[in-house]
Amino acid sequence: MTAAGARWTAARWWQHVGVSLRILIVEDDDSIRTALRWALEDEGYDVAEAASGEEAVRMVGIAAPDMMIVDLMLGSMDGFTVIREVRRAHDLPVVVVSARADTQDIVAALEVGADDYVTKPFQIKEITARLRALRRRTGAAPAGHQPDGAQAGIVLDHDPEAPLVLREASGTVHRGNQQVPLTLTEYRVLCELAAAPGRVFSRQALLERVWEHGFFGDERIVDVHVRRLRTKVERDASAPRLVVTVRGLGYRLDPQ
């Protein structure tokens, strides 16, 4: 299976309209997993469970979930490894559930590819709010919105050899002929920035638009996602020129 083959597209998302979303819960505590399953099923989600990291990695291929909820503290294979393994071939949103409010753990989970996090003990509405935000943003790029632009797209980097092109209609980003393997959230951050090239977006604004977090959201989520985005879209991630940091203000996209 190629990475691009399993990758999310707007078209594939639309298949799910009217169909319940499937969530994979990765949690080794039986009570929490069962209670979470009941609560999420009440919310209308289709739920799959994995009680260990190994099972989770296996289940992602079999159950083809649309989203994942991953506990960081699992048995032999921890949550970080699960996310890293899943991210090799999947762009689905991953929400981390951690019993540790430890700041390094959360940043580490985001670094390996988690999209958002909730700390235990949580209320089910906190999780569903996160999931809803992740689902809603997929509808923000309706297919067929730009019937002609779908082919052309927006050129973000006029590199003569390998231009970087964002095609919102198909929900893809290409560097030359190669599709850039962005996760949903990275893609969405890029879209937000590309919507107004040259304009500075504060971390707060990005957090509200992409994650639907309020004033007290964790701005580190934005920083980690921008960092991850840069490694995929910049010519030289150590000297970013496309997605630039504006000191004390936020981020800006400068088309090259």
Binding site: S31, W38, A39, D42, I124, G214, F215
Partner: protein, 457 residues
């Protein structure tokens, strides 16, 4: 006697001890030296004078043995030693080499000794100072020979010696005191280091240790002190970790409990009335447990960390407005004042929690907040939460910031919360380099102030 004089410090005692022992030793030495020197010098002088007197008496006898020689003439030829004068008695006549001396200067006791035919010497005190009188009977000539020598010069010499030795003793005493001061400083220095380290440790710098030393007298103290601090630090971190671990362990069951109760709550209508009431009770208690556990974890975090990991600029005006909106309170409570710049460097979610705790506190004990002021004054930003309640008694104003402290008289059940809210406020502001305190609002209610250094712009 004053208390300070009655209880002298270690260093003063060491200095005094050194000074006293030096004084004692030098006094003994000086006195012995002086006495020995005096007896030696006096003996030498007496010996010299006596020999001279015998020699002179010999000359006198030789002269007188020559027939027809007059005592007066012989006396003129004698050259006495130094300032000594010669007095000769022949029968009842006294002859003298000087007009200043005569028979009157010869003590009677000496005359009696000479009368027995023996020689002798005697020290006498006169108005002109001490004199040594040496008596030699010249039997062959039938005269008594006396030599009178003043000892004033010798006395001057001995006095000078005494002064020099006394001065030496004083100098030695002062040097002893000085050495004592130096030695006591050396001795007390390690103690001062220990005191300094202990002060820093008491101030929370648990990583403070005494520097290693190769001084064999101090190695034991340094090792004992450092291992005591190690044990203390281990104990403190173990206590902090225990609270954190317990809270952590409670998280998982509480998560499944919360979620299960929520599953039940969505089916509330399917339950019989009594079960619905029970569910409402459980919901309330689970919520309370969540809050308490959250607070405990927060405090455990403060005990473990102590600095803001990612300080970002936070506008307190915006933060207070967001908290008011987010908790469904009227934004009109905010009194932002004329200064627009109320930015501090800090941890947004923790500051939010502190402000929220103050508002909740006003709800619980003060009939709700009536004004939330945000002011910047001289490099600090202050958030003031006023309520219209009964206020806080001056005696309780510090105590209420302690953990598990609750308003006096409030029944355990009547007011929710475990009394950790204000402790978290205090810890948060302290962590941000500020302070939180309680005062009286102009309206007579309680006023809680949270003050932190403003971010430099």
């Amino acid at each position: 006697m004053s208390r300070t004089a009655g209880r002298r410090g270690l260093r003063a005692r060491i200095v005094l001890g050194f000074a006293a022992s030096t004084l004692l030793v030098s006094a003994v030495l000086v006195t012995t030296t002086w006495l020995l020197a005096r007896s030696y010098v006096v003996e030498q002088r007496e010996q010299a004078l006596t020999q001279q007197a015998f020699a002179d008496a010999d000359v006198l006898r030789n002269r007188l043995s020559t027939a027809g020689t007059d005592v007066g003439r012989v006396l003129g030829e004698l050259v006495p030693f130094g300032d000594a004068e010669v007095v000769v008695r022949s029968g009842d006549d006294w002859y003298s080499s000087s007009l200043d001396v005569g028979g009157r200067d010869v003590p009677r006791a000496l005359q009696e000794v000479v009368a027995t035919g023996a020689a002798g010497a005697l020290r006498v005190e006169t108005a002109d100072g001490p004199q040594l009188v040496v008596a030699v009977p010249v039997v062959s000539a039938g005269v008594e020979f006396y030599e009178v020598a003043p000892l004033a010069e010798l006395e001057t010499l001995l006095r000078t010696l005494a002064v020099v030795l006394g001065a030496g003793a004083v100098v030695a005493t002062l040097a002893g005191a000085g050495f004592g001061a130096w030695a006591s400083r050396r001795a007390v220095l390690p103690l001062e280091q220990v005191a300094g380290a202990a002060t820093r440790i008491a101030g929370g710098e648990l990583s403070t240790r005494l520097p290693a030393t190769d001084d064999p007298d101090l190695v034991g103290i340094v090792a004992a002190f450092n291992s005591m601090v190690d044990a203390l630090a281990a104990r403190i971190s173990r206590d902090a970790r225990f609270v954190g671990d317990v809270s952590h362990e409670l998280r998982s069951p509480l998560t499944s409990l919360t979620t299960s109760v929520e599953v039940l709550a969505t089916r509330r209508q399917e339950l019989p009335p009594r079960a619905q009431q029970a569910l409402a009770l459980v919901e309330g208690e689970v919520a309370r447990l969540r809050v308490t556990l959250d607070d405990l974890l927060e405090l455990a975090w403060f005990d473990g960390a102590g600095h803001v990991p990612d300080a970002v600029p936070v506008s307190m005006t915006a933060l207070v407005r967001e908290v008011l909106e987010g908790t469904g309170r009227p934004v009109a409570l905010l009194d932002a004042g004329p200064e627009p710049e109320t930015t501090v460097l800090g941890d947004k979610s923790r500051l939010e929690r502190a402000v929220r705790n103050l508002l909740d506190n006003a709800d619980r004990y003060g009939d709700g907040p009536v004004r939330v002021g945000v002011r910047r004054c001289e490099g600090s930003v202050a958030v003031t939460v006023d309520d219209a309640g009964p206020g806080v008694a001056p005696l309780d104003r510090e105590r209420i910031f302690e953990r598990f402290a609750r308003a006096p008289g409030s029944a355990r059940r009547s007011v929710p919360g475990a009394g950790l809210g204000l402790a978290i406020v205090a810890e948060t502001t302290a962590q941000h380099g500020g302070a939180a305190w309680c005062a009286e609002s102009p309206g007579g209610g309680a006023r809680f102030v949270l003050s932190m250094p403003a971010a430099r712009t």
